[in-house]
Each structure stands twice: as structure tokens, then as C-alpha cells.
């Protein structure tokens, strides 16, 4: 079945450092979505990428979709304590179910 792998599983950084999480799919995706889950909270939609090679930015967050539409990354510049949480990618292939990666849990030392 469709697999979406996400690395790293955990990342601890000093406040102000950059952070990147990577997402890889075994199959070509029609789109990829990113979600953030704060500790004790629920996943909240961040962004959707659809086009090959697409890059989108939200303030300090940069999202990329690979040329082959099999991988994606989320990069946070100069992390802040409000960035703490688990970041999930979720891939969609055709009209099938959205498959979530395992998530990357980000913790930050202030």
C-alpha cells in the first residue's frame, strides 16, 4: 500500500535555530498537505502543495514539493517557542485516502 515516511521522528533545537522535516512517498502523489499538532491539541492544516516543484512560504515556514511529486519538506527559519509541536505531512494519491506520515516532534530550548 501507499507509504509516507517522515524524518526525523524527533528534533530538539535551540530557539533561533532552523528546523527541517522531510517527507517521502513510495508512490507519486497528487498533492501533499502539512499539519501541525500542538501538545495536547489536534492537527491543524497548514498548507497544501499540488504542483511539481512547488514552493510556498508562510512567514518563517517554507514548504517544498519535489519535482517527481514523491517528496516534500517543511523548513522553519529561526524557530520560536510557539513552533513547538508535531508536524505531519499527509499525501494523497488520486482519489484515495490521505495517508499521514509518522510526524516529526519538534521541541525547542528557549
Amino acid at each position: 500500500g501507499q507509504q509516507v515516511m517522515q524524518i526525523p521522528q524527533y528534533q530538539h533545537v535551540q530557539e533561533g535555530e532552523d528546523f527541517t522535516t522531510y517527507c517521502n512517498s513510495s508512490t507519486t502523489l497528487s498533492n501533499i498537505q502539512w499539519y501541525k499538532q500542538r501538545p495536547g491539541g489536534h492537527p491543524v492544516f497548514l498548507i497544501q502543495l499540488v504542483k511539481s516543484g512547488e514552493v510556498k512560504k508562510q512567514k518563517r515556514l517554507t514548504f517544498q514539493f519535489g519535482e517527481a511529486k514523491k517528496n516534500s519538506s517543511l523548513h522553519i527559519t529561526a524557530t520560536q517557542t510557539t513552533d513547538v509541536g508535531t508536524y505531519f505531512c499527509a499525501g494523497l494519491r488520486g482519489a484515495q485516502k490521505l495517508v499521514f506520515g509518522q510526524g516529526t516532534r519538534l521541541t525547542i530550548n528557549p
Binding site: Q33, G41, P43, L92, A95, K97, F100, Q102
Partner: protein, 114 residues
């Protein structure tokens, strides 16, 4: 107003009991989902309904029975609860099945089976 609501927020029960979790969305969406998040934070889809019809059933034990009385509601009934059912259960909705764009998650129901 809460877009996707779930009740109860917390559920502590004994093994062998039967319990239900309710979900409602006021977004006018056609598609609703149930996800299970285990202690390692892994999010796994259980069921998906589109306009009250079951679309996905991800090899979930038949002790779990979803019911959608209308497209704004998707409830989850669990029979004969087991220790391994302890998890956070999230309800979610999206505009429709074909697009599967943004999924809006409820606050979750934290189930602990003793």
C-alpha cells in the same frame, strides 16, 4: 463556533464495556473521518464517510461501528473495549471526497481503557 466538535473529550472505562463517541461538523462538508492516534502520535485513518455512505474501512475490528445519521454527524460505537483501544480518537471533515482538501479536525476524545 466550533467547526468540528466531539463528545466526550475524555473517556475512562473498564475493559469489556461498550462506549460511543459523537462527532458533529457545522461546516457543511460532505466527508467525515475517524482517525486513531496512538501513544507514539501515529495518525491512522479508521473510517471515512461521504454523504452518509461508508467509503473507507481500514481493516478496523468489527467491534468498531461507525454510524452517520446525516452528513453533519459521524458517531463511533465501540463494543467490548480492549486495553489496546486506549488512544486519542479524532473526528475530521473535508469539503468532499473527490477533492480531499483541507481536513478540519475535532479536539479529540482521549479514551483510556482500564
Amino acid at each position: 463556533d466550533t467547526a468540528v466538535s466531539q463528545t466526550p473529550k475524555y473517556l475512562v472505562t473498564q475493559m469489556g464495556n461498550d462506549k460511543s463517541i459523537k462527532c458533529e461538523q457545522n461546516l457543511g462538508h460532505d466527508t467525515m473521518y475517524w482517525y486513531k492516534q496512538d501513544s507514539k502520535k501515529f495518525l491512522k485513518i479508521m473510517f471515512s464517510y461521504n454523504n452518509k455512505e461508508l467509503i473507507i474501512n481500514e481493516t478496523v475490528p468489527n467491534r468498531f461501528s461507525p454510524k452517520s445519521p446525516d452528513k453533519a454527524h459521524l458517531n463511533l460505537h465501540i463494543n467490548s473495549l480492549e486495553l489496546g483501544d486506549s488512544a486519542v480518537y479524532f473526528c475530521a471533515s473535508s469539503q468532499d471526497w473527490a477533492q480531499q482538501e483541507t481536513q478540519y479536525f475535532g479536539p479529540g476524545t482521549r479514551l483510556l481503557v482500564l
